[in-house]
Amino acid sequence: MDIHDALRSYIINEAFKGTVPEGFDDDYDLIESGAMDSLFMMNLITYLGQQHQVEFGMNDMVPKNFKSINALSEFSRNKLASAQ
């Protein structure tokens, strides 16, 4: 599965327990909606590291990288590309 689809399904299952709110799409603001709380963020970082080898550095921990599914997958793709 492509990293974008994997992230999408992880977020829908883990943060929304499979039922997404109205208006949900890949630009849905995860921070503003409260879905991206500290605990979920920690779990997500662990998931991306273990399952997809996406490693977050200290400078990567900024809201813009966690804002939406699109932002997260763009960040992850860039990370993977620069690691190669």
Partner: protein, 392 residues
């Protein structure tokens, strides 16, 4: 202490409501029963009021607000929020994930409730107190024996409310009527001297990841593997929470872990001037729940169940600290609230034995939502009001 009188059981003809435990639920139960006209005897095993909030340094009061940030219950929980706001200008309502909390200074909280109780008539407080014996006849608690500082006294209660957090009174009556607790406990450190915004989201997560890596590589002790960080109420304040299995708690190794954590944090620019201002005592999340006339279930809280004998409303997520798996957080559906029925605060098989607070009758995952401080206040108020009203 000003306004706090010794217990005088024989000088007053009316039988008192005896509230055991002066934590969130016990204080609010005592206040509401007294306001409803009952005479109250409040027994506390330690030398201070406040329970887990003051003893374990709880600084984010949950259960006061719904997911829109509006007050869930009027009455004493709302008055508490107001009094805390008046006592300290740093008290503030804050959104964490999909929930709302009230950020407070636990020391200010202790002052506020101590003044509040002292200025409420009809509450006699006994510190260093415990119930040593209860006589039971036909499902009714009769005479109870209280010990305090080596002195014994006896009281004929109209009703007894177990607000010990751990169902200690009910355990004494009949251990079979208590379900054992199943959750991780915690020890909280309060730091001051921290740079403003050091832990502002998502900076705190970055630091947490760093701490975990250091623990994995043994730079920090294993206690730091599951540590949690949070901002405080003052701009230079931060908190660290250690997860602890209560049965394995060792104060000396916690002390060492705290010192090593501080040394590690002081290497970070934002924590260069930080120091430990206070260390909380071991906090117990689930020390046992009573078996009540009704047991609140996980299904009830997820379906937003309403009861005709509603004690209060609640909506905190299921914040379960599983002894093996650690923390999981499951939010209830958006906008949903559930009721806690009075029957889950009444011990099954007894006419005058009640409970309030985190030892309510509930499944472990239901208690993991219902135990937050604001909800404990609301439960205590409901029981006190009911008893105060019915004794008149």
């Amino acid at each position: 202490m000003n306004g706090i009188r010794p217990v005088r059981p024989s000088s007053d003809p009316s039988n008192p409501v005896v509230v055991v435990g002066a934590g969130a639920a016990g204080i609010s139960c005592a206040l509401s029963a007294a306001e409803a006209g009952a005479r109250v005897v409040l027994l506390e095993k330690s030398a201070e009021l406040g329970g887990t909030v003051s003893q374990a340094l709880i600084h984010t009061l949950g259960g006061l607000f719904d997911d829109q940030g509006s007050l869930l219950n009027t009455g004493l929980p709302a008055e508490l929020a107001e009094r805390l706001g008046q006592a300290c200008s740093y008290t503030k309502q804050r959104r964490i994930g999909k929930t709302w909390v009230l950020d407070v200074d636990p020391a200010k909280y202790a002052n506020v409730i101590t003044d509040w109780v002292a200025t409420t008539p009809n509450i006699d407080i006994v510190f260093h107190a415990s119930v040593t014996k209860l006589s039971i006849h036909a499902g009714q608690i009769g005479q109870i024996t209280i010990s305090s500082n080596g002195n014994f006294d006896s009281v004929q209660p109209a009703a007894v409310v177990d607000a010990t957090g751990d169902a200690n009174v009910v355990r004494l009556v009949d251990a079979e009527r208590v379900a054992n607790g199943v959750a991780l406990g915690g020890v909280i450190l309060q730091f001051r001297g921290v740079a403003t915004d050091a832990l502002r989201f998502p900076n705190g997560v970055a630091l947490l990841m760093d701490i975990r890596k250091a623990a994995e590589t043994h730079q920090l002790p294993p206690e730091c593997l599951t540590l949690w960080l949070d901002t405080g109420v003052y701009p230079d304040e931060a908190y660290a929470k250690f997860n602890v299995t209560p049965e394995q708690y060792d104060a000396a190794s916690m002390q060492t872990a705290a010192a090593r954590l501080l040394a590690f944090l002081q290497t970070k620019p934002a924590f260069g001037q930080a120091f430990i201002n206070a260390q909380g005592r071991l906090g117990i999340r689930d020390g046992g729940r009573i078996k009540g006339e009704y047991c609140l279930t996980e299904a009830d809280i997820k379906s937003g169940k309403q009861f005709t004998d509603r004690a209060c409303r609640a909506c905190w997520p299921i914040e379960h600290w599983h002894p093996g798996k650690g923390l999981s957080l499951e939010y209830l559906p958006a906008g949903s609230t559930y009721d806690i029925p009075l029957r889950s605060l009444k011990v099954a098989g007894f006419t005058n034995l009640w409970a309030a607070g985190k030892c309510l009758s509930a499944e472990p995952r239901a208690q993991a939502s219902a135990r937050v401080v604001g909800t404990c206040w609301a439960m205590g108020e409901a029981v006190g009001k009911y008893l105060g009203g019915n004794l008149q």
